[in-house]
Symmetry: C2
Subunit: 234 residues, 2 copies
DNA sequence: TTATTGTATACTGTATACAGTATACAATAA
DNA sequence: TTATTGTATACTGTATACAGTATACAATAA
């Protein structure tokens, strides 16, 4: 077969496809927190049986995006003020741990890559492409956490990130006082700390930013936040 | 109906039952890491259909105890030396965060409860009841993490704990140099730090202990550790 | 009226059936 | 013999069917 080799075919099951569609819809804020999901209905819409839907739901339940009560419906998570604190504190804690693991693995190339992400963020702000900005925001942090080469850390971080992203998207849909410039400022500061290999500074910044964002989230979402239990629960 | 009230009936689905059975079997070291699971066979043994088995597997996959490759079999996780490092470092990091959240919630009653657990551990050691000791060891840490009142922290901790427990059980089955006395000593030191509200000391102890145990685990398991990928993967 | 009970309907949980893929091994050709 | 291809079998992925539970609302009695 000569020298040419085909790249491995990564099989995507129906379940995988459903999982990402549902996940994106939830994170993107297309379902209101606390709203319920009808397996049969979703299956009908996607023209598949309920089994792969159920498996996708099980996965997203474990990721903390859906809540199921036996024999009752499936609900999109809703956040209490305490939940917001949980999500952002976990995320910040995991990112702090990531600095410890990642910094020894990072070099000039990585600093450049991060710098580039910040530049793209500026462009996104300039062209008021806020959806893109959210993605770039994520990529900045994801880049660092990935560099930690710590699969369990990364997995847990993704879960918290998905929830925080969902909160920010809901907020973005409801509010208009969004100040995207702070994103760039925060990232520049973190990158500076990383370049100096100043782990403590990077951690401190992360914790401070996290607390600020959590607070903003709670304040602006205000009455929109539910209690810990989803509305449909008993 | 007078004053008498029935406690709520918590319904346990077939899937729930299967999940705990499988989880216990895996954590307990009844399946060798890297061994594979046959859905049909498990279904036959438990005399249920494959659907609830599949849902249980999906859950345990998310918990990091099972690994599935599309259209190939399901494998019990196997740990590389790096995986061992990951598990214990995550667990330690989460426990450190737990101190921050838990200590403000803890009072004399809690110190007494922890003291009592340590006493029970001494008894277990005296009567060489090591299975019980493992449970009591867990309860000590679980108690503290629970006091943090942080559901996401607790969930992630449980996942790491399950994997560390699995490692320790495999080790215990293979090795004979187990020195249970250190468990008691470690716990006494942590409890002392907690009583003094000395979070930094508690954190330091946790990180040190974690690193020591991870190292011991790697050394004693030695050749028994696999690579990151389960044996059957391609 | 209002609280309680009965009944239909919608939805979830599980079993069964079957299609699609991987694996093991036999058959074939060099 | 050894490498390659064909074929049977085992196992996973998904659809369909049905039983069990929750929910909504009508019927009934006070």
């Amino acid at each position: 077969m000569d020298n040419f080799v085909f790249p491995e075919l990564k099989q995507r099951t129906v379940e995988d496809e459903i999982t990402s569609r549902l996940r994106n819809a939830i994170i993107g804020g297309n379902f209101a927190p606390g709203s319920h999901l009808n397996e049969t209905e979703v299956a009908k819409q996607m023209n598949v049986s309920r089994i792969p839907i159920r498996e996708a739901i099980k996965k997203l339940e474990q990721e903390g995006l859906l809540v199921r009560h036996t024999n009752r419906r499936v609900f999109v998570v809703s956040f209490s003020a305490h939940d917001v604190k949980e999500v952002f504190s976990m995320r910040a804690n995991l990112e702090c741990m990531a600095f410890e693991w990642a910094l020894p693995n990072m070099g000039v190339d990585d600093f450049v890559a991060l710098q580039d992400l910040i530049a793209q963020q500026k462009n996104a702000i300039a062209s008021e492409d806020y959806e893109n900005l959210a993605g770039l925001d994520m990529q900045f942090h994801e880049f660092i956490v990935s560099k930690a080469k710590h699969s369990r850390l990364l997995k847990s971080w993704y879960e918290q990130h998905a929830q925080s992203q969902m909160l920010l998207n809901v907020r973005f849909r409801k509010m208009s006082d969004y100040t995207p410039e702070t994103v760039v400022r925060d990232h520049i500061q973190i990158l500076e700390a990383i370049k100096r290999s100043d782990i403590d500074a990077a951690k401190l910044l992360t914790l401070q930013i996290s607390e600020r964002v959590a607070l903003e989230c709670c304040q602006t979402l205000g009455e929109f936040l539910g209690t810990s239990e989803p509305e449909g629960g008993r």
